[in-house]
Symmetry: C5
Subunit: 321 residues, 5 copies
């Protein structure tokens, strides 16, 4: 589905154009065309391939989708794939955007994600002094937008982890903690799969030899790379912290079992000792002087109570109870 | 066993030829021969070595089989080994295919796998504009087919893991879960052994200096490499997830033990307390006023029931029962 | 907030100047200006950007803060970010300082940290023979100061770890140990995030090709790098030690549970055996000769005591008690 | 101890010669000398050092033994050390062979291993067309033989691991399993120490710049490297599998403990409930109607049996018994 | 504190000289001065800095001590730091030696270690043919001595580990085992900190571009590097083994707990069953025929003994006892 198809000249918006006229604008000096598609539509893709002369392998990747993030050179043009991650019902929805960037065109194909790039286009159009740089700048602006959207997701995961940590140390809901950490880790892996390969790709856009499309924009792409590295480092730390938290939770489970066994033992003792005394005075010996005492019964039950009281005091002090 | 032996010229099928005539076709301009063998047969291999002038070390590797995936240059020709993985009775059967690719020939030796490459040949013959590129393109087409067959296998493993995860968190069948995860990991290792070394090899087919056979096909081999990287990343994630799942399962086992101990303690208490009371009234003291009461017995059993009822309520509330 | 703005010539302090006059001093030969700001103030930053002609991306990073440590070249100037870590209520407060270093200026923006760099300026002014090297030397002096402040923090963490280790092996407070180790690890991660990326950055300041600002100062920056490597190595060791300590603590918890179960069993035995004997003599058989013995009761209780005494002796010897 | 000392010319055996005459043969064109020593004998080594003009540091290494595998260049000659591993009483005996390879000599010093290289020499002598390549080919043949002997060792370890795995999942002999896995890992480490450093060394024998001795033999040494990589990969997998198996065994131990506790609880219940009922009817209340019933005793024991039967049925169903 | 200060010419000892005369000897052709200091003394260091014209940053490092091992070039001279490890009361004492090596001088500053380098000097003076190589050779001789002293330390740690392993598998002293392994690991880390960074440093002394001081000595420094690699590999293996041993010990603790629970259950059964039988015959039913039997009591106790005997037999067979 075509969202928009606009021609720009010298950083300024020329006109919304028809897809069929693209090749005419591509021929105009200082002019480039920016097309945005939603969801992969074979027919539209075929038209675009013809208009922009896209490489068949890149088009095939764009058609199939579910690519890992990457930035590939095909002659003078670039094909970039980025993951679009959106929170979705406690999970993460994994969409993607494919970007074809050539000397005088930029084509984006978004799929599986709701949040579009209209605001990126609007900001670009408000800054013709930057947009004058052409498709390379648009590629940067799109990347910057995609990467910036990863940060709140990561913040959310870190906040979740903080909550789980508190529950772990409070000894609360160990089973739920394990489940939450597992789910957290799965989502972190999704984020890592979006960030790490993209970082590898972006690093080729600001070194010694950069693709022609990105020439003169090195400092911008280094900035994107810097943000990706920041994300990457935070993801690695969070992974590491989750691993430690799982180990810690296991220790906590061990400690709780220990405590349970102790309480079991303690209560057992409080019941077993009176039972034993009662057993003694239940024996049928003919000569058991206590049995005939006036207050024998009272003394026996008193003895039971006294021993239990003492045991209770000791066990409480030893923190078994 | 010879499956087929066909000569091609300018991307078009010339004829099915006899192995003994191969060298005659090799001498024709723009012509190449594509031979497919099934299972390693020393006699046929010797013939092929003579016809194609293959390097003895490569032939020895092909004869022995059980190689790790690799792509090796021998002068002007390449020798590639790839693993063919096929689901087999809950496990994976590990076959392999050796490919010799020279300037004007391609020779494949498949063994230990049922799924052949007839469909690859058919597709190549339908696209003479690509097949015109010669043995390099056939090598690509074979690789692409082999790699594409890894994806459903990996999907299967991921689905299995999802099932195990659910069982873990439902606290079901912990022993079977461990066994399943172990078996899953073993199969994942087989997949990794097929993918990782091949990735190393393919990376040499699209860089600055590529073997002559693959010249002009860099973008195709980069595409294969891209698929292999995607597999590799998914394999690493799955490995990591299995490791975490094993740790989580251990926590779950600890939690279940905890729960078992608690239930044991709870039921123990429900029995021990009445036993103690019974013991008290079983004592033989002469002066125990309750014993003479009309409703002493009823009171005693009532006391037992009341205490047990209260304990049951408390233990249930504390989730020990 | 402006802390100070001073012009230097040939290593000597010229004068405290007004920010608006900076560009006039920049034009003087052998002169450089050193400005120190506290907390990020958009208005002042804008003024500085204009006076020093700073790169907009670097200024944006400085304005936002919460950057990872880095050293970036923008044309002839450098932009460095370093973390300022200060102990804070058992945790670590994570401030940062951004440093712009150009051919004839140095601008520092400190935020989120109390400890400033007044002493660095004072020491620099006392050593005009070094300060003559210009902004490169000031950059070194600032880095050296920042890095030197990491050492006592790390020492503190190592001391904490020593205390926890002792408690682990004394079998004390296992729950608190786990919590302390977790908290320790979190702070160690903060330190690592301050050190590791900075090390990457500094390594580019003393190799074959160094930025013009740092020319001739290679041995100084190598010294900083050396200190960072020392920190890095110590951090890795401490991380590793914490991981081992968590595993060891888990073993200790297992051992304590073992000991608890043994004591429970031992005390149980001391109570259960007399109960059994009492049960036997509580049977109502008509012909039980012991019941009629004169000292039957004494013998029975004596038997109980003797068996318990023997059990106690054996259990103590086996360290179950 | 000298095993043999033979001169070769143009790939053919000239004669068994005396060590003192070596230098005379070295002077003959197209001639090389192959000496095999057993166990390190200082006197013989000194003679060899003089005859072949060996580098003192290499000779010192050869004299001391217990080197890690390596391949070192000393001017025009190579000094290689390889580990010789032989199964020995359930363990692995770690011998070693040092090889000096110069332009016209090859000297091997075997120690601590029983299996010699007589068969390698015999095979070389049967193939003069290869032996014509000189000491470089002999070095390859020796390496190939050493590396080929690692494979059955590794197979043995993998088979052992399979046996242990089966025992783990059958829940058998957990203590022995742990011990076996530990011992397996120790032997695997010995194998890894033989393989990994040798792989590093061999990789320098077939790249862009190879030592003169190995010139023209690149494909052969790449083949050795390929086998070493295959071993290396298998070793890493086995290590990984052992680590997982140890974790799995721990889970199994936890599960068994769980099962033990459940059985303990179940049997406890079967005894405790009748005890409680017996206690109730052992109370001495004057008014307990059941006591006077004709079939009270039968009813009471019947009640005990019925409850136990029901419990048994429930516990068996819940797999506690 | 000055230990010795000697001038050498052409590999032969000239004379013990006064520190103040050093610069005079430095001016003589073919002459170099070797100074050995003990413990860092600021005054002496200042004198040395003046005589040898040492770089202030290197001198500052030497003054402060507690450096990580390193080898740094300062113009024409080298500054090397190595750790001196000496067994000390079950732990390791961590001393260090700083070595300044210039074209015509060598200066060593030892601190925190008792074992000096007198024997190195003596051996060097006995071999003027080597000492003629100048300060580079002395640097090698010192390094070789330092590295050779690491081997017995490592052997000691490996022997300790063997003892712990035996205790683990014998099921002895699990608590002490954990403590010993932890302490072992700490000392191993000290050794690793001495070895790994030095290895990095030495690797720059025998490659393509070596410092002038070490020119022509490549094979010697490669030999040192080889020893360091051997140490490094052994350290890594031992680390790995300790990690496995800690995991194994945890399994053993679990197994012991399992055994404890079983014994507890077994002894419990032996006591509980007679108690139950006694309870039954302690019931007060009027009609209990057994009570009136002549040998009822003997039968009841016989029954108890028989059941216990049978249980004991079964439990012993099942290895619960």
């Amino acid at each position: 589905m075509l969202i928009s198809c606009v021609a720009y000249q010298d950083g300024k918006r020329l006109a919304e154009i028809e897809p069929q006229d693209i090749h005419r604008y591509l021929a105009m000096p200082g002019c480039f065309v920016w097309v945005a598609l939603l969801e992969r539509d074979p027919a539209v893709l075929e038209l675009m391939q013809a208009e922009f002369d896209l490489h068949p392998l890149a088009v095939e990747d764009a058609r199939h989708g579910h690519q890992r993030p990457k930035i590939e050179e095909y002659g003078e043009s670039l094909f970039a794939v980025m993951h679009l991650l959106e929170p979705d019902n406690g999970g993460i929805r994994n969409g993607e955007v494919g970007v074809f960037a050539g000397p005088n065109y930029i084509l984006t194909i978004r799929s599986g994600a709701e949040h579009g790039f209209g605001e990126v286009r609007a900001r670009c159009e408000r800054q013709p002094e930057f947009l004058r740089n052409g498709p390379g700048y648009v590629l940067y602006a799109l990347m910057d937008a995609v990467v910036d959207r990863y940060f709140p997701l990561l913040d959310g995961l870190e906040t979740e982890l903080d909550v789980i940590e508190e529950r772990i140390f409070a000894g609360m809901t160990p089973r739920e903690n394990v489940e939450s950490m597992y789910s957290l880790k799965q989502r972190l892996v999704m984020l890592r799969h979006a960030v790490a390969p993209l970082l590898d790709g972006v690093n080729n856009l600001y070194g010694a030899r950069v693709p022609a499309v990105c020439a003169g924009m090195q400092e911008y792409f280094r900035d994107v790379s810097d943000h990706l590295q920041q994300l990457n480092q935070a993801i690695e730390s969070t992974r590491d912290t989750i691993a430690t938290a799982i180990a810690v939770n296991l220790s906590m489970i061990g400690l709780q079992e220990n405590a349970t066994v102790k309480r079991l033992a303690a209560y057992g003792a409080l019941v077993a000792v009176p039972t034993m005394i009662a057993g003694v005075y239940g024996m049928n010996f003919e000569h058991m002087p206590e049995l005939e005492w006036r207050y024998g019964y009272a003394l026996a039950t008193g003895l039971m109570a006294a021993i239990d009281g003492y045991l209770f005091y000791r066990l409480r002090k030893a923190k078994w109870l």
